[in-house]
Structure formats: C-alpha cells, structure tokens
C-alpha cells in the first residue's frame, strides 16, 4: 500500500492555499457577474495571438458537443461563434462514463466534440472514441507550455494528438458558507452526524472511486479486490449521508442552491460560479487527504460530421483571451504560459505556476483502472462496484 503520488498542493502552505481558494471563490463569483455585465471582450479576428491561417477550410454550421457543462465555453467563444456562423449544440453529462458511452452507443456518430480527462487516455484509445489530430490542424498548440504540449497523455508516438489539453484543476469539496460555519478539514468530516442527509454526490464513477481510494490511501489504478471492497464500503457510507446521487454537476448545484444539501463530496469549483448567479455563496476546499488533479482535453470522435468546425473551435479555446476567461469561469488552470500573467491574482494564486514541471511530476494524476489485468481490479470491476453503491 503506497502513499498516493502527491496531493494537489505540495510545496505550498496549506492554510494560505485554503485562504486563497476561499478568496478566489468569492472573487470569481463576483467576477463572473462582472464578466457577464461588461460583455465579452475578446475579438477573435483581430486578436494578434490567435493563430492566423488555420489552414482555412471554410467553417460554419454546427458543432455537436457532448461533455461537461461549462466546458463548451459558450460565453467565452460567443463572439467567435457569431463571427464564423457556428452554433454549438451541447448535451451535458453527469459522469465521465456518459461521454464515451454516448459516442459508442448506436446513434453516437453525430458527436463532433468531447472532452476527457487524462486518466482515460489509454482507455479512450482502446475504445476508439477519439481520433488523431495532426498538430498542424491546431496551430495554437505551439503556444502551450511544454508540460502540456509534449506531455504523454494525449500525444501519440507519431506526433499526432488524440486530445488537446485546454484546462486543468482539482476536485474539491464545495460547501455553503452560510450553512457550514467552518470549512471541513477532511473528506471524512462529511461522515459526521451534522451532515446526515445533507451532502451531495454526483454520479461520476471515476471521480468517486479515485477519491475514495485516496482517502483510504490506495493507488487507484492498482487496487486489489479487497481494497475495492473497502472503497465500496466507504462510498456507501458517504451515500448514507447524501441527499441524492445527482445525475450531473448542475443538479448537484441545484441541491446546494435550494439548501437540500450543504456540502458536496467530489465537488467542482465551477459550481461556485454557477451558484453565485443565484446569490448563493459556495467555497471549495481541498481537504487533508488530498484530491485528484485532472487535465482535460478536447477530442474529436472518429467520423465526426463537423470535424473542421470542431478543430477551429479547439484552436480558439487555446487563444489567449479564451484561456484567461475559462480559467476565471471554471476556477481552473491555463495551459499557455503567456496567459498566466493575464490572470487576476486570485486565479493565478490557485496553482503553482512557477514550477509546473515538478508540480506535474508529483501531482495526483491518476489513471483509471486497466481494462484487463490479472492482479488488479479492472475498469469493469469499478463499474459494477459503482452500480452496487447506487443500489445500496
């Protein structure tokens, strides 16, 4: 039983970090409304940092997006969409599984754009859910920090990409500042009696399993059957404290807004922004047991009907303006070096930009369980286990 590779923040003063997260939550909350009020400042065509010459096949029409709410960056790319005559049609998922299951299901051939997180990279290659992208098709790739541009997760040996990283961040514990007087210090604090029937969970198999494994001190991608059983028991304990297992982050947000739930197990900082729109203040903290970091990438399924539109969109999200905006909107990290200085202080202070390489060496970047294995539990075992948790 080895200790996890590292928690989200290593060489950082934890209290300072938590404080910064707190400030950030409030600031982003108001920042989002300011952003909305002032209108979108980006001006796609004239932006000098947007790549000129996207090997211009004519684009225009629709992009069918299927993934997390918020990652379609509708507001940040609104001007760009209008300029190029593009309409993004989005369908949102509740769990990471929903992404590839939709693409794989009959009738899934209509999806142009998905996202996935690094832990699924091998699995998505296996399942043939993503298609290779030549770096030349996304010129803005050259602006990415080396750790993202040259990282192994999304790059094949032949230099093609199966995913274009555009954001990253960490899972955290959302809670309502008005109902929970003191920020929970540990994930297991949520098992206390005062949280009975008051916590929210989301129906994302992967995040829940990895988080439970972390709490127990196991390595998620290398667990034995016995360890998986412990994970199941722990998750069932959390479920007993839960109002419901929400089908999506949006629904989890609804529970927090209406007050049915006061804290979230496996939350996301984007919720702070969404809740602020309805005058509910949330903070998102990383408890002591740590959390998981995710690097998310855009990808295009094979046989996507609107591939060119999707590529152009991806390129646009790597532009300077959109990178800065998505970081503020999602309380996430940026993948471009020149975007770091443009970030407001609170958002920049979220992540250790001064030493990205060593951070990512040590960060809690987990892969999902293997598809086949003799000694460890497989992804199929995870899936069944999660069904059992939901039915408990």
């Amino acid at each position: 039983m080895s200790k996890p590779h590292g928690i989200l923040v290593r060489n950082y003063d934890r209290r300072a970090f938590l404080r910064q997260m707190g400030i950030m939550a409030a600031a982003v909350g108001s920042g989002a409304t300011l952003l909305g009020a002032c209108g979108n400042g980006s001006n796609g065509g004239n932006d000098p940092t947007t790549a000129n010459g996207t090997a211009a096949p004519a684009i225009g029409g629709t992009i069918n997006y299927h993934s997390w709410e918020g990652y379609d960056l509708l507001d940040a790319t609104a001007d760009w969409q209008q300029e190029h005559g593009i309409e993004i049609r989005s369908s949102y998922v509740g769990g990471h599984d929903d992404i590839h299951t939709r693409v794989l299901s009959p009738g899934g051939g209509d999806i142009d754009l998905i996202t996935y997180y690094h832990g699924y990279a091998d699995r998505y290659r296996e399942l043939n859910v993503v298609s290779p992208i030549d770096p030349g098709e996304v010129p803005n790739l050259e602006h990415l920090m080396p750790v993202f541009r040259d990282g192994e997760w999304f790059r094949n040996d032949d230099g093609n990409y199966v995913g274009i990283p555009f954001t990253w961040g960490g899972i955290c514990l959302n809670y309502r500042t008005d109902e929970v007087p003191q920020a929970p210090q540990r994930w297991t604090d949520l098992l206390e009696p005062e949280f009975e029937g008051r916590i929210a969970m989301v129906d994302d198999l992967n995040g829940n399993v990895v988080l439970a494994a972390l709490i127990l001190g196991y390595e998620p991608e290398r667990m034995t059957t016995g360890q998986l059983q412990e994970v199941q028991d722990l998750l069932i304990q959390f479920k007993r404290q839960a109002v419901a297992i929400s089908p999506s982050f949006g629904d989890m947000n609804n529970l927090l807004i209406s007050g049915e739930a006061v804290a979230a197990f496996m939350g996301w900082s984007a919720l702070n922004v969404w809740a602020a729109e309805q005058d509910v203040e949330l903070e998102c903290v990383i408890p002591e047991e740590g959390s998981l970091t995710f690097v998310d990438a855009y990808a295009i399924p094979p046989n996507a009907p609107n591939r060119e539109n999707a590529l152009a969109f991806i390129n646009e999200t790597l532009s300077l303006e959109v990178q800065v905006e998505q970081a503020e909107y999602l309380s996430a990290g940026v993948v471009r070096e020149d975007a770091i200085d443009q970030l407001p202080d609170e958002v920049r202070g979220l992540y250790p930009y001064d030493d990205m390489d060593s951070f990512f060496e040590q960060a809690a970047l987990y892969n999902v369980a293997p598809s086949e294995s003799d000694e460890y539990v497989t992804y199929e075992d995870w899936t069944q286990m999660w069904q059992a948790v939901k039915a408990a």
């Binding site: 299951t101 299901s105 419901a244 209406s258 899936t383 069904q387 059992a388 939901k390 039915a391 408990a392």
Partner: protein, 289 residues
C-alpha cells in the same frame, strides 16, 4: 376464409403488420438479447444464461427489485383506493357536477408526466409549497427534510399520476351497474355500507383488479420518478436497467433485469387475483349487471 369476411382481414392487415413487426418482434428480440453474450453496447450472438445467473445470484438486484415491488404495491393500493372514492362519488353522488368532475379527472390523466413529477420538487422541497405553508401556520419551526428525496416522494408522485386512471377505469364499471341490484340489497335490510360491501364492490372487482394490475406494473418499472425524487434511498430497478443500457453497456444484463421485474410483477398481480377470488371480490360466472 369466408368470402364475406375477407374485407375484414384486409382492413385489419395494417394493424396486424404493425403488431407483428413493431410489438411482437421487438419484445422477442429483447427476450433474445437477455440470453446472449454482452459486448459493449451490443451483443455477440452466442447464447448464455450468464445474465440470468447474475440476476439470480447478486443481492444488489434483489434489493432494488424489492424496493420497486414495494413502491408498485403501495402506489397501486393508494391509487385504487383513492380512485375508487372518486369514481364512487362521481357515479352515485355527484349530481350536477358530475361531468365537471369527470372531465377534470380525464384531463388530468393526459396532463403530462415528466413535468408533473418534476413539479413535486417545488412542492416538497425545503422552500417548497408544503414547508412554507407549515412554517407560516406555525406548525413547524424548521423545514421538514424528509418530504423529498426518498421512496415516499416517489410514491406520492406516482399516485398523483395514476389515481385518475384508476378512477376512470372503476367509474366505467360503476356507471354500468344496474341500480336495481343495490336496491334489492337495501330492500333486504342491508345498510349503505353493507350494500356496498356485498353488492357494489364484488361487481366492480374486475375493474379494481385491472386498475391495480396496471398501476402496479407501471409503477414498479418506472425509472424517471426515482431519479428525480428518489434521492439516495429511493433507488428502483428501472434506473439500474437504464444504466445497464445507456451507461454500462451490458445489454443482456439489462434485458434480463427488465424481464425479471416484469415476471416478478406478474407473479404479484397473479397473487392478488387469487386473493381477490378467495375473498369473493371477483365473482365467478357471467356479468349479471
């Protein structure tokens, strides 16, 4: 084939085609899939009883099935009882408001499904209609949290949808009853309650059974209401079946689970039929009334 009946066969041919191709065939395929080998979001054409073995052996499914049966049963009982009350009033006591009541009942059958279930969140939530009313009236100090996100919320919502249906089915029967029978019972000395128990109820037994069976089957297999209102404790088998098809991708297991809940429901309904027959609520013989 009798020549004079030939036009009849021609007229019904399209329906026969629809039924065979689009009702019988899909159900047959569905049954077939439950004994095939799973492949992600598809099947391999090699038969196996593995899925049924899993259903039989894994406790997690039977917990869900038990919960679903419970919801189905309680919903059916509530719907039939309340439906009977409504139908009885409309049939025998309504007077001038008869058609208004009937019309309102009929319309509420057709008045939406998804949106009605969703509305219960606003009714039963912490800032919802019920809690606010109780708080305002001073009957409680804090909002009741147990109204929503559990099995009871699911039952309330489903009953709300099925009461009108039960009412109409039972009304149709009550309206066809000859009043002479009840009159005869009264003449022989029975009071109102006795006449009801001895005459009206048995004669309407078939309708009661029909309504019960329908509501039970549809409630037990519902998969939307538990997702919206069931919370962490109100899980039902329908959601697991949906998950197998749309998330996990194990279609044979999903099909096996689907057939299992149908079979379990059928057994329960058959059990009810026996009970009613023994209790004399399903009189033998032709329809006298």
């Amino acid at each position: 084939m009798n020549a004079s009946n030939r036009p009849g066969y021609a007229l019904t041919a399209p329906l026969v085609g629809v039924v065979l191709l689009l009702v019988v065939a899909p159900l047959a395929v569905f049954l077939l899939y439950s004994v095939l080998t799973p492949q992600p979001f598809s099947v391999q054409w090699s038969p196996t009883f593995d899925s049924y073995r899993r259903v039989a052996g894994e406790r997690v499914w039977w917990n869900l099935i038990a919960g679903s049966v419970q919801v189905g049963f309680i919903t059916a009982v509530v719907s039939v009882v309340l439906g009977y009350v409504l139908a009885h009033h409309i049939a025998f006591h309504a007077g001038r408001s008869k058609f208004l009541l009937l019309g309102l009942t009929a319309i509420s059958i057709l008045g939406g499904y998804l949106v009605r279930v969703y509305a219960w969140r606003t009714i039963l939530g912490t800032h919802g209609v019920v809690n606010t009313a109780l708080l305002r009236l001073g009957l409680i100090d804090e909002p009741l949290r147990w109204l929503l996100f559990n099995r009871w919320a699911v039952i309330v919502a489903l009953a709300n949808i099925f009461v009108p249906f039960a009412a109409i089915v039972i009304y149709a029967r009550l309206a066809n009853l000859q009043p002479e029978h009840v009159q005869a019972a009264r003449d022989l000395g029975a009071n109102a309650r006795g006449a009801f128990r001895l005459v009206t109820l048995p004669l309407s037994g078939r309708a009661v059974f029909l309504a019960f069976a329908f509501v039970f089957l549809l409630s037990a297999a519902d998969y939307v209401t538990p997702q919206l209102l069931g919370g962490a404790t109100g899980a039902m088998i329908g959601v697991a079946v949906q998950d197998q098809f749309q998330r996990v991708g194990n279609w044979p297991l999903g099909a096996a689970l689907g057939f299992t809940i149908f079979a379990v429901s059928a057994v329960c309904i058959a059990g009810l039929w026996l009970v009613m027959r023994v209790a004399g609520l399903l009189p033998r013989g032709g329809r006298h009334a």
